[in-house]
Amino acid sequence: MQRPEQGDSRALEADWGAADRSSSTGTALTSDLPPPEVRANVPAASPSLRPVRPGGLRRADARTGAALVTPAFVLIATFVLFPLGFAIYVSLTNWPLIGPYHYIGLTNYRDLFQDPVFIHTVIFTVTYTGIVTGPIFVVGYGLAVLVRRNRLGSKVFRTMFFLPFVVGLTTVSYLFTIELQPDSGAVDFVLSKLGLVSDSQAWTVSYGPALLAISVIVVWFASGLTMLILMGAMQAIPDQLYEAADADGASWWAKERLITIPLLRRAIALSLVISVIGSFLAFNQFFILAQNNQGEETVVEWVYITAFENYHLAYGTSMAILLMIIIGLVSGAQFLILRDTTEL
């Protein structure tokens, strides 16, 4: 009878087994070699000389492993998995925020498809996504091309292009509420100096200008993230490919089109999916910058308003479930696109 905490040798051999198996199943990064100084630190010990006793080892192994993942599993089960099931149940009831409720089947979902206001928020969110996705990608790609090589200033430029994203959309939105004010805001000031607007514009109060302003702000905010994702992938392309193209006298655009973009498919898909999901889930920028604007509510904003301001908790929940299904389809499409791409 050996207690697990005394059996260091057991644990040792257990770890050997686990590590062997994990390397044979081939996790994404096990093939990456550690830096040389790490390898040099490994003393020349020979643990394989110890006798192996498989039965008890596995059990200690299993206990330790299970104990280590338990807190993570408990948190995820409590605050993701259970709420997910609960949300589906709530969406099948007429639950107000406070008070009695009962099961009403799929009524909420049927109502959703006939609810002009909800349909409007969906169309609005999709429109907004359609407006910003292309520009975020194009600007991000351009920035990545500009700074992908390590030369004078490229590190500083990268940092600066990414700073708006680091600051976060909440703070950025507050900041632009100030600068989008008519008469006193810097946006009007700069645009009139450039001769682009003749008189002051109340950006956040009317539909078109608010959507335009928010879209421009979001492109400015998010293109740095696309830049970093694409740049990382660009730097992984071997120089030899470009050298060969140079030898053939290929133009810059030919190299970009025939070498870079095909090899970037994974990263391009990833950056587009991140950007599309982010736009579908848009909340902060519209909640803050278009707060007085009827008709400019995104789906998430409308979920909040329905559930917590109009006290139709169940109805709001059914909206959230529908949104999640749409996003699930987008994520699913991501995996399909990523699955059969040729690895370099």
Partner: protein, 304 residues
């Protein structure tokens, strides 16, 4: 943009000469074009962020007027002293944000490190289930479960509580953290761990003593993402916190912004100084730990 990197064969004897030639050619028209475009764009990206600092130092009279030279000659800190002073105390909200963000970072790092270690180094029944659960959590946006979370927190008496917020924030940061930590542990050569075990170290001792230098970068990545997420989060904090003295900074700033009715005209100077207080920690953290942030972007998002 005509100059693409020339080959730099490291073994060839004339490599250095070739590199020099390449560098000289680089300093041509294309290079200066790159420098000019980069500088102009960098200003475009950073100036709005720097301008709010100037804004926050304006006296109230100038806040309602278009930008001018006077903004730079009349700088004063009254916005900050009023905002953080006794009348409109945002100080407590900054403290709430700090507690929440640090608490989330600490809990996320602790739980992710344990789970990452468990999943990377041990084989046990149920590992597949746990991995599946983490994958599901990775794909579920918190917005989808906002309403049941509200009911659940109410049931646990964690509504209107920073602890409740820390638990929720940590949970939604876990999938990313576990992926990062699992990758981190898989990268550590097992000989290193095993040799320490030979010397008589237990599971925890091995983790703490031997692997620490190799694991800390992964922990830093996890921590910085969790911190920035909680520091900037608005919707959940707005939904789950109601009492004024528990609000985090983003929620309080929404109050500041919409308070127009009470005191007539809203002083945008307060909002600007609130923005600066919210912005500076993010910038400092990012600049100091940029390496770890970018590492997370490539190892966590792309490979997880």
């Amino acid at each position: 943009m005509t100059n693409i990197a020339l080959p730099l064969p490291s073994t060839a004897p004339d490599a250095r000469a070739a590199a020099k030639r390449a560098a000289r050619r680089e300093r041509g028209r294309g290079f200066y074009l790159y420098l000019a475009a980069g500088t102009a764009l960098a200003l475009l990206f950073v100036l709005p962020l720097l301008w709010v600092i100037v804004r926050s130092l304006e006296p109230p009279v100038l806040t309602g007027q278009p930008p001018s030279v006077a903004d730079f000659t009349h700088m004063q800190v009254s916005n900050y002293s009023i905002l953080l002073g006794s009348t409109d105390d945002v100080g407590v909200n900054v403290l709430n944000s700090l507690i929440t963000a640090l608490g989330t970072a600490a809990l996320t790092v602790l739980v992710s490190t344990m789970a990452g270690y468990g999943l990377a180094r041990f084989r046990f029944r149920g590992a597949g289930v746990v991995f599946g659960a983490i994958l599901v959590a990775f794909m579920i946006p918190f917005q989808a479960v906002l309403t049941p979370l509200f009911l659940e927190l109410h049931f646990f008496h964690l509504l209107n509580s920073l602890l409740g917020l820390v638990l929720i924030y940590s949970t939604f940061n876990l999938p990313f953290g576990v992926f990062v930590m699992r990758n981190t542990f898989s990268q550590i050569p097992r000989e290193l761990v095993d040799s320490s075990r030979v010397d008589g170290a237990g599971v925890i001792t091995a983790l703490v003593r031997v692997m620490r230098p190799l694991v800390v970068p992964g922990m830093a990545t996890t921590a910085i993402y969790a911190f920035l997420y909680s520091w900037n989060e608005l919707l959940q904090a707005y939904t789950f916190l109601t009492s004024n003295n528990l609000m985090t900074l983003p929620v309080k700033l929404y109050e500041v912004m919409t308070q127009q009715g009470t005191s007539g005209v809203l002083n945008y100077g307060y909002l600007a100084s609130g923005c600066v207080i919210a912005m500076v920690p993010c910038m400092v953290l990012y600049m100091a730990l940029q390496r770890y942030y970018v590492r997370g972007l490539t190892s966590g998002a792309l490979k997880g």
